[in-house]
Structures are given as C-alpha cells and as structure tokens.
Symmetry: D2
Subunit: 236 residues, 4 copies
C-alpha cells in the first residue's frame, strides 16, 4: 500500500507491511464451531461477522493478523506500546545515534477547560486548530514553532557533544526532547488492532494518536471491509 504521511511534516508515517487473512477467514474460524466452512463470502457470512462482533464472540477475529511500520513522536509511541497484546520492535537509541528526527506540530492546541487531560480541537477527523484567548497570545503561538525548533536543535547539539566526549549513547539520549520520532514495527491480530482503534480513535484521545488510529482503520477497512463495518456499527 502507499505510504501515508501523518502530521503534515513528511516524517511520521504508518505503513502496512504485511497481513494474514480476510473477512472470509473470520467466518470460517467461527463456523468451525459448527464444523462448516465456506469458500466464498456470502451475505449471511457478513451477517454472521456482525453478529459475532456485536455479541463479543471475538475469538474468530484473532486468526487474522496485521503488521505495521510506524514512525510517530515518542509520546505517541508510548501510548501505543501500552497496548500489551501487540508485538513491537523499535529503533533503539542504545544502538544507534543516526537518523534523529523530531515532530513539529503544524498547529498548537489550547488546553481544554472541562476535561483536564484534553485539548480543544474541531472533532475527531479534522486537523486540530489553535484556540487562543487573546490576540497577543495568538502572536506568541505563531512563534511557538520557532521556540520548539530552536529547543530541538540545541538538544541535538548537546546530545552530539555528549557523544563526542565519549559518553555512552544509552545515557546521552536523556537530553533529547519527547518530540523525538520513534520508528518501530508493530504486529497484532485483527481483534487487537480494532481494540486499539476503539480506544484511541475517541474524542478524549490525544489528536496525535487518533491520527495513527485512523490510518490503521483505513487499512482495516480496505482489507477486512465487513469486520470494519461490524466494528463501526458497535462503536459510538
């Protein structure tokens, strides 16, 4: 599939590397309960997939697998890796000090008033917009990018000095800010991909991980269209 750029900075991405199975495999895994197998997806198979998902008979969704390459900022990678049913392999900053890249958001968001953990933006599928309380703050915000970039550059410079002076990579990395990009491979079965999307493509999730969840959702929709319908029908 074509590479998908996230975050409008031409750095982050979520690619599908490999997968196993299709909608038909879900019903055939389920129908092993009745000792029956179909060769082609029929209308009643689609109904069965939706019935299974709706009634939490989710084990048949575990025999399909998806493998992604992800490149996202550290704070997004940390949220992703809290999902313990996935398998991960990540570029290690103990091993390598090359290809350091950093996230610079296209827009900064304001702190939400009512939800302590959230930010204000215009809904789930659109880009976040800057909401500020006054013109002068707005002026400052337009300079936040610059402050972030300058801070990032200084951090990398200190990191390189540490390395030049002989300090080990595993310690030197601690000066790097958390907008550092993480590159990793992530594999899960279809059920756990859907669980991830269900928990992270929500209004109260951080925008940066919702974007990741949406892109994974697009891959699911393409490869497992009926499972995707079942999922969306059961997700408010």
């Amino acid at each position: 599939m074509s590479k998908n750029f996230l975050y409008n900075d031409n750095i982050g991405f979520c690619d599908l590397l490999d997968y196993m199975g299709e909608d038909l495999d879900i019903v055939n895994s389920a129908r092993v309960s009745f000792d029956v197998s179909h060769a082609k997806l029929e209308d009643r198979d689609e109904k069965l997939i939706k019935y299974l998902y709706r009634n939490k008979h989710t084990s048949p969704f575990e025999h399909c697998t998806m493998k992604f390459a992800c490149k996202v900022p550290l704070f997004v990678a940390r949220q992703h890796m809290r999902h313990r049913t996935w398998s991960y392999n990540e570029v290690s900053r103990r091993y390598t000090d090359v290809n350091l890249e950093f996230y610079t958001p296209r827009e900064f968001r304001a702190q939400a008033k009512t939800n302590r953990q959230a930010s204000i933006h215009d809904g789930m599928l659109t880009n976040p917009v800057v909401k500020t309380t006054s013109g002068s703050t707005q002026d400052w915000i337009t300079r936040a990018d610059e402050a972030l970039l300058s801070h990032t550059r200084k951090s990398v410079k200190l990191y390189n000095t540490f390395l030049e002076k002989g300090i080990c990579r595993e310690q030197a990395r601690m000066v790097l800010p958390q907008n550092m990009y993480c590159h990793y491979i992530a594999t899960a079965n279809l059920l756990n991909v859907l669980k991830f999307i269900g928990l992270r493509n929500k209004p109260d999730a951080q925008w940066e991980i919702k974007v990741l969840a949406e892109q994974m959702g697009a891959f699911v929709q393409e490869l497992f269209p009926t499972a995707w319908e079942a999922f969306t029908e059961n997700t408010k």
Copy 2:
C-alpha cells in the same frame, strides 16, 4: 501443504492453513533497532537470527504468524489450550452433535516406574510400544482396543438416546469419553509456536501431544528454516 495424519487412525491431523512472514522478516524486525533493512537473507542474517534466539531477544520472532487446523483427542486439545498466547476456535458440542469421532491408540503404553506422570516408550520420535510385565497382561492388552471401542460405542449410543429424549446437547455431551476428537483452529506468532514445541516436544510430555508438536515443528522447519535451526540449537 499436504494434510498430515497423526496417531495412525486416519482421523487426527494438523494442517497449516495460513502463515505470515519468513526468516528475512525476523532479521528486518530486529534490524529496525539499527534502522537497517535487508532485501535478501544473507549469511550474517542467519547468524543474527541465532544470536537473537540464544540471547532471548525474542521479540523479532513475534512478527511472523502461523495458523493451524488441528484435530486431536480431547486430552491433547486441553494441553494445547493451556498455552494462553495462542488464539483458538473449536467445534462446539453445544452447537452440533454431528461428526463425533474418537481416538483409538494404535498401542497402549505402560505406566513409568520412576516418573509419576509419564509412560514408557522408546524415545521421542518413534511410536510408543507396549511394555508389559507378563504374558497374561500382554494378552489382555491385545483386548484393550476392543474394550475401548466397545465403551466408546456405548457412550455414543447413550449420548444419542439423551438427544432423542430431548436433553440439550450441552448437557448430553457429558457422557462422551475423553478420547473424543476436538477440531479447532489455532493461531500463534512464531515465538509462541516455538515455545509450545519446546515445552511439548520433550521426553516427559505425553506422546500424543509430542506428535502434534513434532508436526508443527516440521511446518516451522519448512517455512522458517533458520529460526528452526536457532530453536533446535538452544533446545537440549
């Protein structure tokens, strides 16, 4: 792949239904740590696979997946399903009462003297042989098959009577003996397939599950030859 009959009764089997990945994917998952990827498996990649397995850096083995269809006796299925990292879907005796089949071992084994849980047989990869203490017991053993078959037939007859009289399947099944065959789909990543084989293809495992582990091992060897070498080198 060709269907594999287990247990010499033309009933049990372990088929590979689907899989994802190859040896090369293991090294490329590992090399994401150095931000490096190879297009073709090289000698040093094979060394890396063995290094990873030997040093318990096992996460790169989790991005390959194998999906099996298994048909084994109930007591083997129960041992298999104790492995909690696998995904399973099984013919349910709450749903269906057709296609009942039962295991009749080609040979009975004697109780081991020293290991309370084991039986006596001639090593891991050969068929078990009957070891008896006396001629008269041997005579009886030759009739054990007959006794098992007769018992199985009576059990099925009682089961069918229960169903005819209107007793629900989910209760009627309780009269069926544990040599009943279970048919299920089982999926796991390569690491957990190897863990299963490592625990079940051992001298103190029950012969009937060792046969299952061996057949899975044959599939691993065919699909992931270097991973299989790494595994066998680290398994006494």
Copy 3:
C-alpha cells in the same frame, strides 16, 4: 470465606483462597495519573471508580487480584480455561488416579428451539428446570439420572481395569466421561475476573458455568463493592 457448594451435589465448589487490594486501591492506582493518593474511600472515589469502568479506563482494576479454588465438571473447566488472562493449576490425571468424582445434574434441560447452542431454563439466577415435550419423555427423563450414574460407574470400572493391567494413567483416562470433576486453582486480576463474569453470566451461557460466574460475582461484591456496582451498572 465459607465454602460454596455448586450444582446441589455437594461436590462442586468455588472458594476464595486469597486476594489483594480493595476498592481504595483502584482509585489510588487511577489517581497516580494526577500524582494524588487517598487514605480512605470517599464519595467522589466511588464516582471515579464508576467513571473509570464506564469509560473503559480499566487499567486501575488490574492491581487487585483474586485467587480461587474451583471444582467443576470438565466441560465447565474447559470453558473457564479459555480465558487466557487467568493463571491455572489443575489436578492432573497423568499424575494421580485417586479422588475421581463426577457431576450428576439435579435436572436435565431441554434443547432450546431458537438458539442452537442453548438450553431452556427459567432465567439466569434460578435452577434450571426440565422442559419436555410429552409425558412419556418426562418418564424417561426421570430415569436419565440413573442412566448417567450407571454409565459413569461402568466408565470408572473400565478405567480401573486399564490401570490394573498396567496401562499408563495418561492413556487410561481417555475412557472417563466429561462429567468428571476438575479441581484447580485459578488466579486473575479484578479486571479479568469481571470480564469472565461478564461473558459467562449471560443468558446464552451454559447454566453450569453461569453458576460459577455468579459465585465469583458474590466474592467480588463482598470484597470490592464499588467495583461490583460499576460492573453491574455497565452490564445489561
């Protein structure tokens, strides 16, 4: 806690052996997010527990643990052990041939007409009742107990003969019917105890496992009353 007899046959039971934590630990695990801890459960803590469960912020429920001793028929144990987040240790019929016990249901249930997998009974919390289509079948049903008992006795007799003749336990057990009781220890964190109850204390679950789920629910209610309320409010 007092021992609980299931199934009215004085054999099956579900005991609480040990546990860790209380409702307060759930909120304090959650409040670590805000770097705050309470010494005593307050009203707003109860609200927080319910908020967390309702919004699927379930990780704070994982720091409490429950450990049970269960003795249930084989087909119930198999359903329980499909829950892969639990830890289990079970009496092994490879090791021991003593203390064989078998389930004889107080009542047989009829096959449900509409739900292929279910049986007919009078709701979730009451004992199942026999529903039969005609008087003559009813007569037969009253003799089903007898048939089951007789079958069980013959099975045990054949099992003992197999052992006497020197056949290993691990093979001999295959003649035993599936109403055989299994005795095991089962441990899970509170979240996964609740997930088990949620999936097994449902109208379409087999009565015999619903009884187990109910008893576990009673222990949860006693030890974690607020978590239990949160759970029941979110379970239709």
Copy 4:
C-alpha cells in the same frame, strides 16, 4: 517495607506496595496436581519449588502477586513497560504539570567498544564508573552534569512558557527531555516479576534498569526466599 532510593539522587525509588502469597502457596498450587496440600513449608517443598522452576513448570509461580510503586527516568520506564504481562498506571503528563523531576546521573559512562548497545562499567552490582580515553575528556565529563542540569532547566522553562501561553499540556510536554522521572504503579505475578529480573539484571542491560531489577529482586528474596533461590540457581 522501607523506601528504597535509587540512583543516588533521592528522587527515584521502587517500593513494594502490596503482595499476595508466599513460598508455601507455590507448592500448594503445584501439589493441586496430586490433589495434596501442605500447611507448612517443608524441606521437600523447597526441593519441589526448585524442581518446578528448573524444569519450566512455572504456572504455580503465577498465583503470587507483587505490586510496586516505581519512580524512574523515562527511558527506564519505557524499557519496563515493554514487559507486557505487567499491569501499569502512570502519572499522566496530559493530566498534570506539577511535580516535574529529572534524573541527573551521579556518573556518566563511556560507550562500550565491542557491544554497540552497551556502556562500560564495573560489573552488575556496583555503581558505574566513568571510563574516558584522555584527561581532557575527563575534564569535560566533570562538566557534563552542569550541562545536563542547565539543559533540563531551560527545557522546563520553555515548558512553563508553553503552558502560560495556553498551549495544552499534552503538546507542551514534548519539549521535556527524556531524563524526566516517571511515577507509576506496576503489578505482576511472581513468575513475571522473575522474568523481568532475569532479562534486566543482565550484563548487557542498561545500568539504570539493572538497579530497578536488583531492588525488585531484594523484595522477592525477602518475601519468597525459596523461589528466589530457585531463580538464582537457574540464572547464570
């Protein structure tokens, strides 16, 4: 138990908050296989615990649980949270911007020559020492602390400016360096605590996580002395 300070900066710690079980529970969980239970730990029980661990019969170790409070630098927390069998709850920098603290290592380590991922230090249980190639580098190293502190202070200042200007916490945090302390609660069963220690208290692990593994090991040794012996006898 008494609070344990890690890293010599009076900030990091690993406390035991709660636990369930003792050595005796391991053997009784194992002995459920023979339908036997002991009231007091005997010599042969200790032998059994060691036999079980040595032969990878590890399920009896899963019925004991340990719950820790940890405060470690971000890069250590990330390594810990790669262990997917544990339960975690962490202070969220989406929720709160108070109590920011940062790790300043007592000593910097040099990059290892042969092992790309490691640093040079004097063995597993002692503090790491600075190894440098020349006097002038040594001079610089003595000023590395200062550089790290200054960088950390500037990062916090920028973070606070971002917040004052109205930028949401979940974005502002991205300027914070990775020596930021993370505070979290971590729970696992004894088997998975031992697996963590086995993988992280190794020569090629980063010193900062080895210290965490050692402290957890001290708690295991105090609470489960026989299990700890079994573990150390099987860990090179």
